[in-house]
């Protein structure tokens, strides 16, 4: 009876779980299922990419030449490093080192800012040139293909959806920083940190495929 009134049991877990381990595993399973739906959402865009690239190979090869692979490569490295610091924040939480855990989260957040800043540079450069999606395409330079707008529709949709995920991830990391600074994460409890980490790695995973597909088409 008393357990119904108490949201948390003595072990620190919600009353409807057998124990903290059960709660942790259940929460993580839910996150994995969510990641599955995320992959399938991006999957639709990947299908669109492959079909369009197959039908208009010249358009996609030419479109990619307007992208600077150096920006893409730096952003790949930035996201990989951020994934590394994200796992380290969990690693330090598991070892009860709150200060290092918070520091690693700050570095992860900073990497998110660097990624979005580089995206901002890329987007503004393209918008200035008129390299816009679909009908808005107003680039007036010399072009080999007549439907470059299609490439840029694909480009903005895929990188835009990915970028919005980075922003959401950054928001979640801020939340983790607030909680970590309160000392809420330790070897006994780091569930939210782990789940936000999984989401952040998924965002990294998608970029791993986007980089060669969009920047290095041949």
């Amino acid at each position: 009876m008393s357990s119904v009134n108490k949201p948390r049991s003595e072990g620190g877990h919600a009353f409807h779980f057998d124990g903290p381990e059960h709660e942790f595993e259940t929460t993580k399973f839910g996150i994995w299922l969510f990641l599955c739906t995320e992959v399938l959402m991006f999957g639709g865009l990947f299908v669109a990419y492959f079909l369009f690239a197959h039908k208009f190979p010249e358009t996609f090869i030419e479109g990619a030449t307007y992208l600077d692979w150096k920006f893409g490569a730096v952003n790949t490295a930035v996201l990989l490093v951020s994934s590394f610091t994200m796992v380290l924040s969990i690693y330090y939480a598991q070892n009860n080192k709150t200060k290092q855990c918070v520091n690693m989260l700050f570095i992860t957040l900073a990497c998110g800012f660097i990624f979005m800043f580089i995206k901002y540079l890329e987007y503004t450069h393209k918008i200035d040139l008129g390299l816009l999606p679909g009908d808005m395409f107003s680039f007036t330079g010399e072009m080999g293909s007549t439907n470059l707008g299609l490439y840029f529709s694909t480009y903005y949709m895929m990188t835009g959806l990915h970028g919005s995920h980075v922003l959401v991830g950054m928001g979640l990391i801020v939340w983790c920083i607030v909680r970590a600074r309160r000392g809420e994460y330790n070897s006994k409890y780091f569930t939210t940190l782990e789940c936000v980490g999984l989401f952040w790695h998924l965002v990294d995973l998608i970029w791993i495929y986007l980089f060669p597909l969009l920047y290095l088409v041949d």
Partner: protein, 103 residues
């Protein structure tokens, strides 16, 4: 929580180094950057390297190698669903008969 496996720092560091090396390799074998050309295999090589990187992230950063195999089952089924999405779309694409609309 007693059941948690704490992966040593050195494992994470080595995985990061491997991922960065593979990123350099991705760029190095890209035709628009280096001129490297393996013909029809260019695309497969790029996707192959990306998949190795994805595998490393999944196995170590996302801890699938050490974790409850239930999560592995989720990601395997995700890949199967993705395959279904791709293959059905491709079958549709490949078997279309060009038609002029009468509308």
């Amino acid at each position: 929580m007693s059941g948690h496996h704490i992966i040593p720092f050195s494992v994470y560091r080595n995985v990061l180094i491997a991922l960065l090396i593979l990123t350099v390799l991705t760029v190095a074998v890209a035709k628009p950057v280096s001129g490297f050309d393996a013909g029809v295999f260019n695309f497969l090589i790029a996707m192959g390297i990306a998949s190795v990187k994805a595998g490393l992230v999944l196995a170590y950063f996302m801890q699938l190698k050490y974790d409850n195999k239930l999560y592995l089952a989720v990601i395997v089924s995700t890949v199967l669903f993705l395959g279904l999405l791709f293959s059905v779309a491709m079958i549709d694409w490949a078997t279309r008969v060009p038609e002029i609309s009468t509308l």
